[in-house]
Symmetry: C2
């Protein structure tokens, strides 16, 4: 970009460069004053791959940050500083960058993160955003994927499984509202929705121009995942192995199992779903879609079963939707068991896209 | 990508994850054990913007790393650890990723850098690569862009100005060989070139299928900049203000001048050009193209003039093409002076591309 455009963009992001490390975004590099352990993670999201071209620029900005917050939190750490590589599509108006910066900055504040640097460039292709996030471990140990032991409990914390996948189906019109509601709820739901509709942004309206509070909640789970930094404390204190669930519960559980050289047995009955997801499954939806769909952004961890009582009463764990969903066994892979304890056949490929041609 | 593809890519890059921080690329985050100051920089390069779609994948990999090495070195630091965000184009064969990884890994080794993490994803758009690089300052101070003082000398170190721009012109066919040679050199140059041609990769052959050693050197300056980490010592010891020259000498000098609240006066006669560039300018080429073209990747710094003698005899400075090119003056902007001391009118926009539509 030209020097002028560079200055404009720097000025847009400068209010969020609240750390001395950032050198007010006026230098070629940030200077970190580092002491001890630091968690570092980086994730890229691409228009048409990780989000839809029609998604609002505000929630794209939030998602770019939050998918990284999720990785840091899953390592028992709190996010502190970020770098932003913004590769702006030539097909998008440059004026949208200000909206992106404002939403990204608001989310940085929400999570207490300082922007310390980055790079802005243009592309003839889709909008592409990489965020690199630095986190401070809450405790002295950063749990790895590969530390699960046979006999441990398997836990989820931080939210619901499958809500984001359902939200994506609603957003693309692949799924209608009818499947989410019991008939007797219909009148009340419509009244609630009418009351809220006027206060809501247009992107939370369904493709058929309805607004529905429950659908909006699910769509927001897809658009801007509800990542909960409070999970870091529980993970840091109790987890043997941990990772975030982002590519689908089964796929990510498989990765943890592989890294640890064990098998994970998951009771589908114990997995935390939203009420809407349960209704959808009850009315004929395939529950396997919920546990293999992506974009959940919750934490999967294992812990010795003698810690079970302490984990269940840990501060905030109930509000964080803590759920004990299975056990670590000898073997390899993931076994999903139904209500009767019988294995359910599921693919473990999770959210996938082909790389190259 | 699928879990299988992920494993394949991890295995390609794992040999270069030589630091414990990397957790063998098997975790969601790296864990840095940090002590004291650390320089952090990140740059994205995009196919069709920062490199040509037809550039060899090996040199694209090298360029992605080196543009970041250049930033770290310009801050008086040595590169130590890297993150790689590889956003692979669906239009490119996946098999090329192995070649990319090998070239990237070879360059990591050349510069003594450990890969500690990253992210690989696909895109319907152009190949897009972000590298984040961590550097260890050689001294106790990391010079900023904004620290130049009136009366200081302006220096360049690390290589030639304009060679990469000339290389790009040769590579695109915008410029032919004839302009680079004096007539009396022609016979010897052709003989030299024939002797080398068989040993050279095809991408160093000109569009008209000639091979020429001098042209190959210039094209390599564009394809994979010759960044010299040895410059970090001189910068750390002597520089007041510093930055790398990557968007064109005049544009980057303007940024340093602006950040420092001063003017930079540059004697065009003192700027280090290659012999080929001087011949080109002598035979009618516009020297302003050389000082405004991009992709040089050398270090621009200022230093008090009482250090002049010490800088000139600093270890390695001659081999690093150290050149004193001007002075810091009161005012603002960049004044380029010709052999007679008269100002030359140049644009300071440098390498630029429009952002968004």
């Amino acid at each position: 970009m030209s020097a002028d455009e560079f200055s404009v963009i720097r000025d847009l992001f400068a209010p969020y460069a609240t750390s001395a490390s950032a050198r007010a975004l006026r230098d070629d590099a940030a200077v970190l004053e580092a002491q001890g352990q630091m968690v570092v993670t980086t994730d890229t999201i691409v228009e048409g791959v990780h989000f839809l071209a029609g998604d609002p620029i505000e929630t794209i900005a939030m998602k770019a940050l939050r998918v990284n917050v999720s990785d840091v939190v899953a390592k028992g750490a709190l996010p502190v500083q970020a770098l932003l590589n913004l590769t702006w599509s030539n097909a998008r108006p440059a004026s949208e960058i200000a909206t992106f910066a404002e939403a990204f900055g608001r989310d940085l504040k929400t999570f207490g993160i300082a922007l310390i640097g980055g790079d802005t460039t243009s592309t003839p292709g889709p909008l592409t955003i990489s965020v690199t996030l630095f986190g401070a471990p809450v405790g002295s140990r950063v749990p790895a994927r590969g530390d699960a032991q046979v006999g441990e409990d398997v836990w989820l914390i931080g939210g619901e499984i499958g809500s984001a996948w359902l939200g994506l189906q609603l957003r693309t019109g692949a799924l209608g509202l009818a499947h989410l509601r019991k008939e007797r709820d219909e009148a009340q739901a419509q009244a609630d929705s009418r009351a809220l509709a006027g206060q809501m942004p247009s992107y939370l309206t369904l493709p058929n121009e309805d607004f529905d509070a429950e659908a909006a909640w699910l769509m927001m789970a897809y658009l801007a995942p509800f990542v909960r930094p409070e999970c870091a404390g529980v993970v840091s204190k109790f987890a043997s192995a941990s990772m975030d669930v982002s590519d689908g519960l089964v796929a990510d559980a498989s990765k943890l199992a592989e890294a640890s050289g064990v098998a994970l047995r998951i009771e589908i009955n114990a997995v935390p779903f939203s009420l809407a997801a349960e209704r959808w499954a009850f009315s004929g939806g395939d529950v396997r879609k919920l546990i293999t769909g992506g974009d959940d952004y919750v934490v999967l961890f294992t812990a010795p079963n003698e810690l079970r009582g302490a984990i269940e009463v840990a501060e905030g764990s109930r509000a964080l939707r803590l759920a004990r969903i299975g056990v670590v066994e000898a073997g390899h892979g993931v076994i999903v068991a139904d209500r009767e304890g019988q294995p359910v056949a599921v693919s473990d490929t999770g959210y996938s896209h082909k790389l190259g041609r």
